[in-house]
Amino acid sequence: MVLKVFFPSCCSSADSGLLIGRWIPEQNSAIILAVVHFPFIPFQVKQYLSEVQKVSQIETVVLGTWCNNKQEKEESLGKFLDDLSTIFSHEPWLQISKEKGSKFWNCHTLSRQAGTPKEDQIILIYYDQRKTMLSRLHPPETSLDNQPGVITAPDASKLAAVFDTVARNEVLFLTDRYDEGPIKLSHWQSEGVEASIIVELAKQASVPVCMLLTCLLSLVSGLCRSRILKFWPLSFIWSKLSTCEQVGYRLEHLRFVFSNQKAENHTQFMRKANIFVSLLLDMALGIMLLSWLYRKNRIGQLAEALIPVADHVARELQDLLQWLMGVPAGLKMNRALDQVLGRFFLYHIHLWISYIHLLSPFIEMILWYVGLSACLGLTVVLSILSDIIALLTFHIYCFYVYGARLYCLKIYGLSSLWRLFRGKKWNVLRQRVDSCSYDLDQLFIGTLLFTILLFLLPTTALYYLVFTLLRLLVVFVQGLIHLLVDLIDSLPFYSIGLRLCRSYRLAAGVKFRVLEQEVGRPLRLLMQINPLSYSSVVQTYRLPTYSCYPKDSWGSLCKKLFFGGW
């Protein structure tokens, strides 16, 4: 059968020694983790390996010998290496040797079991140990019985086993050939141990900072949850304002990021990192906006522009109502109803404008203080903007509600009287239409009312249509703002940055490259990490948002609009 040997590319230039790693018999593959150099005492090697095995829970054994002939061929070394196979018994025993100046290696296996040693076909696969150790396969392999290290089910992925083996053996990579110990190893750390002072200092400082922030945040959230703010008018207002939801959501995020517990697994760590980067980005953008707003008295300019805009909107609405009260689009309205509705709405607009003018001296101050909240983040500013739009267009909302209620009542009345016209009745108990015999005077009044409502329908329908369209426009603008807020909230910026800069850490799989071959030698392959595509990164690591998207389909929404929300 074909024997696959995974060899770390960092050990290609190591001195001769013993190969240690993991042997997976079901897949006939040997994963080499490090090279133990001479001189060593076999007993100490065995002891070290059992210690490593206890920590990593992966069976690490001596797999064979590695011979790097830097000078001419040494016969005595060959005999010595053969003798080693008797001390460390392993089936099959690998012997890999490299000549000076030659790219192609010799690979042999010694098998003690069969009488005639069968020459197995060997595939030599080089892999980058550091990248394989740091990377994570997607989708993550969930082992069936949740025991660590038990990924040797017959149909399990071979590559997941390779990644898992290298990742779990971090303790093996702590000692090096330059350390003063009985065992001298060569692995990826031998190329130079990397560390960063800033990272170490940040790690040391993070614990007290986290504790302090956790205390502060629990105080703030305790305040927010206090009973004073739960009385009926206030709680209703809080639930309607999107700013409060957004601030609460961000507070929740802050508590999650600065909690004292360490992230248990990779998913939680990525989630924490994504939330942290999203918060940082949010605050940075908010502070940029703040510095732009407060320069050159832009707040004052904004406040000055606000009143004329509100006036302009009110004037446009008045023109619209005058148009509706006349002959809109050539349709003939019922004069009396038209005048009543038109005057009613005009009076509303007049009230609204008076209130706005009453508030006008305070607007600049309110805007100035509200603008300060931009330091909490761009999402908070956008939520406030959405709330301000909602407040300024409150009269449109009122008109929509009046029009919708009127229209809904009319449709309800019409359908009920239509049933009477045909001699039927709605049975509330049975939730169906039943036939019913009415008296003559009931029929007479019913028919009269039916005709009245029917002929008044176009007027009401037109008012309803116009105000629904205006309301939809406002909802559309608010929806766009909420979409932007959602984008900043849920996009995993850390994962995208990781995919951009350290693409080997998020792996969708592997790819193989065939290296130069020579006839008679084992097949040489280079295994590289195939990074995840950007769309899968966003899909896997997207943060859940609080906004509930409408559960109705477009069809049911149109139906609701047609019947006035009934």
Binding site: D155, K158, L523
Partner: protein, 188 residues
């Protein structure tokens, strides 16, 4: 290393198949697609610029012309990087897996590797596409739940679209390796 052999794709374009045999259990098939023709490139550019010039004659705004140049450049770069595939490779390594690579005209390579444990078989399938009946080579993947079922069908050489004669060559070589691997795994 064999020399490239000439085949044609379903539209009549010219394809070159190169087979490499690295070892008894490792083979590679490289299909080169027809290159981007200068004629179609010139036609597209001229049409976009004529339209832009017409718009400029209407509205006398020179931004339209610069916008047209930008659009042409960006469109060409996007086409070369995301759409135009130069070469498709199928690498089959017995007892490891099957790897499919597409190299785009801008040099980008997109690779997919399927482990041998998931591969059920490699077959040639027929499909009815509009008024044509075309053949395509595909890899059948095992269903983890049902041992006799097929969970997914992965087509190979999707943008090169070679004809049946080319597919038969590739199919025969793949079957040799799969059969050889079954024999060795049965004997162990």
């Amino acid at each position: 290393m064999e020399e490239p052999r000439n085949f044609s794709d379903i539209d009549g374009g010219h394809l070159a198949l190169q087979r490499r045999c690295y070892s008894p259990s490792c083979r590679e098939f490289c299909l080169s697609c027809p290159r981007l023709s200068l004629r179609s490139l010139t036609a597209a550019t001229c049409s976009v610029w004529l339209a832009a010039y017409g718009l400029f004659a209407l509205c006398q705004n020179s931004m339209v012309l610069s916008a047209a140049i930008f659009i042409t450049l960006l469109g060409l770069l996007g086409y070369l990087h995301f759409v135009k595939i130069d070469q498709e490779t199928l690498l089959i390594i017995g007892s490891l897996g099957i790897q499919m690579t597409s190299s785009y005209a801008s040099g980008k390579e997109s690779t997919t590797f399927i482990e041998m444990g998931k591969v059920k078989d490699v077959v040639i399938n027929e499909a009815i596409y509009m008024q044509k009946v075309i053949y395509y080579l595909c890899i059948l993947l095992k269903d983890p739940v049902e041992p006799q079922g097929v969970s997914q069908v992965v087509p190979v050489f999707q943008s090169a679209k070679p004809r049946l004669d080319c597919l038969i060559e590739v199919y025969r070589s793949c079957q040799e390796i799969l059969a050889h691997q079954e024999v060795t795994s049965a004997s162990s």
